[in-house]
C-alpha cells in the first residue's frame, strides 16, 4: 500500500501535522537555543550579567529594537523591506522636540500637551510609511529602492527641521502644562520601564493582529502567494500600504522612547537601526521572500542582538570584536535556519521511501 506515501487518511494527516508542528517548534527553538547559549556564556563569564536589574536594563535596550522589528516583521511577512525606519526614528524625535519647544501660531506660541505631541509624532511616522506604501503599490517601485529613497528624504527632513541641532531638556515645563514626556523613557509602572511595557503591549497587539484578525490572514496570504490572494479578493494594495504605515508608526514610537530617555532629541538618532531590526526579524526565522515569520521569533531575535551587544560590553570586549561577532551571528542564525529546512526535507523524503518500500 503506497497509500501512506501518496495520500493521507485523517489519522495519518493528523500525524504528519503533529510531526510538522513539532519540527516547527524545533525550528523556532533554534533562535531560543542561540539566546540560551548567549545567556549561559555571559552568565558564566560575568556575575553581574544574570542579575534582575541588569536583565531589566538589557530588556529595556532590546525594547527599542524590538518595537521597530515588530513593524519590520509585518513588512517582511508581506515580502517587502523597510530601510527608512532608522530615519523615521530621528524624524519623530525631532518633531517631538520641535512641538515641545512650542508652536508659533500667529504671534503667540502654543505648547501642545504631551499626548498631542505623541499622536502627532506617530502620525508623522505613519505619513512617511504611507509614502513608502504609495511608491510600492501605485508606482510599483521596488520596496528596497522606495524605502532607500525615503531613508534619505526623512533624514534630510529631520536635519532641516532641527537645523542639525539637538533639542535639549524635553522635560517640559509645568507652567506650560507640557510635562510628562520624560515618563515614556524613565517611568517605571509596576517596576518595569515604560519602554518594556510598550514592547509587550505592541507585541500582544501584533500577535492578535496576525493570529485573529482578517488582516493577519490577508498579510500571510499576500506574502505566501500574492496572485492567489489577489484572485481571492484580498485587497493586496491596502494590505501592502498598511504594513508600511504600521512600520512607520512603530519606528516613530521608538524615536519617542529614545528622545524621552535622553530628554533630548538629536536629528541623527537612529542611523542604521533598520539593519538591526531586519537582523532581528531574520534571526527570528522569518523569510525575506514573505509569508513566513512570527512575533515570537522576532522578539527572540531582538533579544539575541540586544543581549549580545550588552553582554560584550559587560565583558569589556572591544567594539571592533562586537561588530565582527554581530555579523557572524546573523549569518550563522540564517545558515542554521536553512540547514534545518533542508534536513527537514531530506528526512521527509527518506521516510516516504521507507513507507513505500515496505509496501512493495
Amino acid at each position: 500500500m503506497t497509500a501512506t506515501a501518496t495520500t493521507a487518511p485523517p489519522e495519518q494527516a493528523a500525524a504528519r501535522a503533529r510531526r510538522l508542528s513539532l519540527l516547527n517548534v524545533a525550528f523556532e527553538l533554534r533562535a531560543f537555543i542561540a539566546l540560551a547559549v548567549l545567556i549561559v556564556i555571559f552568565g558564566v563569564l560575568s556575575d553581574s550579567f544574570l542579575t534582575v536589574p541588569n536583565l531589566i536594563t538589557m530588556t529595556k535596550h532590546v525594547a527599542i529594537n524590538a518595537v521597530i522589528a515588530l513593524g519590520m516583521l509585518l513588512v517582511i511577512l508581506k515580502g517587502g523591506i523597510d530601510l527608512s525606519v532608522g530615519s523615521i526614528v530621528g524624524l519623530s524625535g525631532v518633531v517631538a522636540g520641535e512641538l515641545l519647544g512650542g508652536l508659533h501660531v500667529g504671534g503667540v506660541i502654543a505648547y501642545p500637551p504631551v499626548w498631542v505631541v505623541i499622536v502627532l509624532c506617530v502620525t508623522v511616522g505613519m505619513a512617511v510609511g504611507g509614502v513608502n506604501g504609495l511608491l510600492v503599490t501605485r508606482f510599483n517601485v521596488a520596496p528596497f529602492i522606495a524605502t532607500l529613497g525615503m531613508l534619505y528624504v526623512a533624514r534630510g527632513a529631520a536635519m532641516l527641521i532641527s537645523d542639525g541641532a539637538t533639542y535639549p531638556n524635553l522635560g517640559g515645563n509645568p507652567s506650560l502644562g507640557n510635562t510628562g514626556f520624560g515618563l515614556l523613557g524613565s517611568g517605571r509602572p509596576l517596576g518595569l520601564p515604560t519602554s518594556i511595557w510598550i514592547m509587550i503591549v505592541l507585541a500582544a497587539v501584533v500577535v492578535l493582529l496576525l493570529a485573529k484578525s482578517p488582516f493577519g490572514r490577508w498579510l500571510y496570504a499576500t506574502g505566501g502567494n500574492e496572485r492567489a490572494a489577489d484572485l481571492s479578493g484580498v485587497p493586496i494594495r491596502r494590505v501592502k500600504t498598511l504594513v508600511y504605515v504600521i512600520s512607520g508608526a512603530c519606528a516613530a514610537v521608538a524615536g519617542l522612547i529614545i528622545a524621552s530617555e535622553l530628554t533630548s532629541a538629536a536629528p541623527q538618532a537612529g542611523e542604521t537601526y533598520e539593519l538591526n531590526a531586519i537582523a532581528a526579524v531574520v534571526i527570528g526565522g522569518a523569510a525575506l521572500s514573505g509569508g513566513r515569520g512570527t512575533v515570537r521569533g522576532t522578539l527572540v531575535g531582538a533579544f539575541v542582538i540586544g543581549f549580545l551587544a550588552d553582554g560584550l560590553v559587560i565583558l569589556g570586549v572591544s567594539t571592533f570584536w562586537q561588530i565582527l561577532i554581530k555579523g557572524a551571528v546573523i549569518i550563522l542564525a540564517v545558515m542554521l535556519d536553512q540547514g534545518q529546512q533542508r534536513f527537514k526535507r531530506r528526512g521527509a523524503a527518506a521516510a516516504a521511501v521507507a513507507a513505500s518500500k515496505e509496501h512493495h
Binding site: P9, A13, V353
Partner: protein, 520 residues
C-alpha cells in the same frame, strides 16, 4: 446552431482578448444558462480559460463586453464578480500553501466574531461541512501546502462552493482527481443545477464532460465554432469541431524505424520537491529506443514532470539507475546531461522555458551557447547562423531573431523552447506537455517536428494530459498513476474509455480516494 431555452444569466458578447502577440479570443459570444451545465470544449490554447477569466472579472476583454441578467456590466476584479454571484475554480491552483485549509476557504471572506476577530470555530464547522459534502478527509487546520495535489484541487472546489454563487465556473476541476472523486463532484454539480445554479464545465476528459453537460460549446483558436444540446452529439463530433480538420491530418500516421535502446530507466524513485514526504515517482522503469516516440499519460500530479525532470538532471532521484545508450547517466547534473545529449522541454514555458528579458534569438541559442564560443567570446556569425537555421527549422513566426520573446504567440514561444533544445543536438528529447496552451496549427507543427526528429534517430519521450494525443501520437504509451507505471500500450491498442480507467491507477469505484493496488 441551437440556442439555449431559458434566458442566460451571464453572457459574453463579441469578446476579443489579445495578449502581447496572441489573440486568445476573436469575437466570442457565449451565454451561460441557469440550472444547466454548459460544457466548454476546445483544444489546448483554444481560449477556454481566457474566456472564463473574462466572465469571472479576472481579465478585461480587449473589445466586447459582458452582460449580467441582460444588462452590460464591467467586472473590474474577481472580487467584484464574486460579489455579483460569479464563482470560479481556476485551472491552475490558486491557494496559499502557507495557510490552513479553512484560512484558504475563507480568505477575504472571513467569518467574524463580535470583536471583528476571525471566528475560527464557525469557519472550521463550515469547512468541515463542505469537505464532508465533497467526501474529503483533509484536516481543516492542516496546511494546504502539505496536501496532495488532488486534495488541493478539492479545496479549490470547496472554496467555490462556499460562495453559494449563481454562476459557477469550473476550469479543469478534475485534472488531478480520481474517478471516485469525480463522481462526488458530479453529484454536487447536479445538486447545484437542481437549485438553479448555472455551471460552466471545462475538462480535457471529453466523455466525463459530456456526461455532466446539458449544453455543449466548442472553441477553436479563439473562435466559437459550434454549440449543441449534449443529447444530440457524441465525442467524435466534438473532437471534429475541436480539431477543425480530419484527425489524421493533425495526428499523422507514421511507421517508426526503431534503433538501439537510447534511454533506459530502472526503478527510478523521486521525491516530490514540493511535498518531500511524498514520492512523485515510485520505482519506475522504462526504455526508449532511438527513433521511437514514447508518450506518458496520467492525471495531473501523476509524477510525469518529476520523472522528466529527474531524467534531465534537475531533480536528484532518491534511488534508481538511468542509462544513456547503455552507459550510466547517474550523477551528472543538467549541464553534463545536455552535453551528453539528454535535453528537456519543460511543462511551463513561462516559468521554466523562456527568459522573458531576452530576445527570441538569445533564447534559442542559450542552451547551445558553448558550441558557438571561439576563444573568449561568443562568435556572432556562428550564433546568428544557427539561430536563423533554428527559426526556419521549427517554423517560428517572428519578426526576427531580435524580437522580444513576449511578442510571440503561445505556440511560437513553445516552438522557441523546442528549438532551443534541438540546437544542443540531443540524442534523447524529453518534452513535458509540449502541446499545452498552444493553438491547433502550432500543435500540428510540433507533432510533425517530433516525428521528424524521431526519423532522424532521436529517442523522443513526451507527456500529455490530452487523451486524443495520448492515443494517436506515441508509438508506445505509458500510463502513470501516482508515480507508478500502471499500463503500457502500442498505438491503437487502447480506447479512450480504457485509458480513463487505467489512468486512475486501476481503482475500482467505491475505494476511498487515493488508494491503489500497485497494479502495472
Amino acid at each position: 446552431m441551437t440556442a439555449p431555452t431559458a434566458g442566460p444569466v451571464l453572457r459574453a458578447c463579441e469578446v476579443t482578448k489579445v495578449y502581447g502577440g496572441t489573440h486568445a479570443l476573436k469575437g466570442v459570444d457565449f451565454p451561460v444558462t441557469p440550472g444547466r451545465v454548459t460544457a466548454l470544449f476546445g483544444e489546448n490554447g483554444a481560449g477556454k480559460s481566457t474566456l472564463m477569466k473574462i466572465l469571472a472579472g479576472i481579465e478585461q476583454p480587449t473589445t466586447g463586453h459582458v452582460e449580467l441578467d441582460g444588462r452590460p456590466v464591467r467586472l473590474q476584479s474577481s472580487r467584484h464578480a464574486a460579489d455579483q454571484g460569479i464563482a470560479i475554480i481556476h485551472q491552475e491552483l490558486s491557494l496559499c500553501p502557507n495557510l490552513s485549509v479553512q484560512d484558504n476557504l475563507f480568505l477575504a471572506r472571513e467569518v467574524r466574531t463580535g470583536f471583528g476577530a476571525v471566528d475560527r470555530k464557525a469557519q472550521r464547522r463550515a469547512t468541515q461541512a463542505v469537505l464532508d459534502r465533497l467526501e474529503e478527509h483533509a484536516d481543516p487546520d492542516g496546511l494546504v501546502g502539505d496536501l496532495r495535489l488532488g486534495q488541493q484541487q478539492v479545496v479549490e472546489i470547496a472554496r467555490a462552493l462556499l460562495q453559494e454563487a449563481r454562476v459557477l465556473i469550473m476550469d479543469e476541476p478534475t485534472s488531478a482527481l480520481t474517478a471516485p472523486e469525480v463522481e462526488v463532484l458530479f453529484r454536487v454539480i447536479r445538486e447545484l443545477t437542481a437549485a438553479g445554479v448555472a455551471v460552466v464545465y471545462i475538462s480535457h476528459h471529453l466523455d466525463e464532460a459530456l456526461d455532466i453537460a446539458d449544453d455543449v460549446v466548442v472553441l477553436r483558436d479563439g473562435l466559437l465554432v459550434a454549440t449543441a444540446r449534449a443529447g444530440e452529439v457524441d465525442i467524435r463530433w466534438i473532437v471534429e469541431q475541436m480539431v477543425g480538420r480530419d484527425q489524421d491530418t493533425l495526428f499523422p500516421d507514421r511507421e517508426p524505424v526503431l534503433g538501439e535502446e537510447a534511454l533506459t530507466v530502472r526503478d527510478l524513485t523521486v521525491a516530490d520537491p514540493a511535498v518531500p514526504d511524498r514520492l512523485a515517482v515510485d520505482g519506475l522503469s522504462l526504455t526508449v529506443r532511438a527513433g521511437e516516440i514514447v508518450g506518458v499519460y496520467g492525471l495531473m500530479g501523476a509524477g510525469r514532470t518529476e520523472l522528466l525532470e529527474a531524467l534531465a538532471g534537475r531533480l536528484r532521484p532518491v534511488s534508481g539507475r538511468v542509462l544513456l545508450a547503455g552507459t550510466p547517466l547517474d550523477g551528472p547534473g543538467i549541464r553534463e546531461r545536455i552535453e551528453r545529449g539528454v535535453v528537456l522541454v519543460p511543462e511551463d514555458r513561462q516559468r521554466d522555458g523562456l527568459v522573458q528579458t531576452m530576445s527570441v534569438g538569445q533564447n534559442l541559442s542559450l542552451a547551445a551557447l558553448g558550441t558557438f564560443v571561439r576563444g573568449l567570446f561568443v562568435s556572432q556569425p556562428r550564433e546568428h547562423a544557427a539561430v536563423a537555421r533554428a527559426i526556419t527549422d521549427v517554423t517560428v513566426k517572428t519578426s526576427g531573431a531580435t524580437a522580444a520573446i513576449g511578442s510571440l504567440s503561445g505556440g511560437n514561444q513553445q516552438k522557441v523552447v523546442i528549438g532551443k533544445a534541438l540546437l544542443t543536438g540531443p540524442r534523447v528529447l524529453l518534452l513535458d506537455e509540449p502541446s499545452r496552451g498552444v493553438d491547433v496549427g502550432a500543435k500540428a507543427d510540433i507533432f510533425e517536428l517530433m516525428a521528424a526528429q524521431a526519423r532522424h534517430g532521436l529517442a523522443v519521450l513526451f507527456t500529455t494530459s490530452d487523451a486524443e494525443e495520448a492515443l494517436h501520437i506515441p508509438d508506445r504509451l505509458l500510463v502513470l498513476a501516482r508515480g507508478a507505471l500502471v499500463g503500457e500500450f502500442r498505438r491503437g491498442e487502447l480506447t479512450r474509455e480504457e485509458l480513463m480507467r487505467v489512468s486512475d491507477g486501476g481503482i475500482q469505484a467505491g475505494f476511498p480516494a487515493g488508494h491503489q493496488d500497485g497494479a502495472g
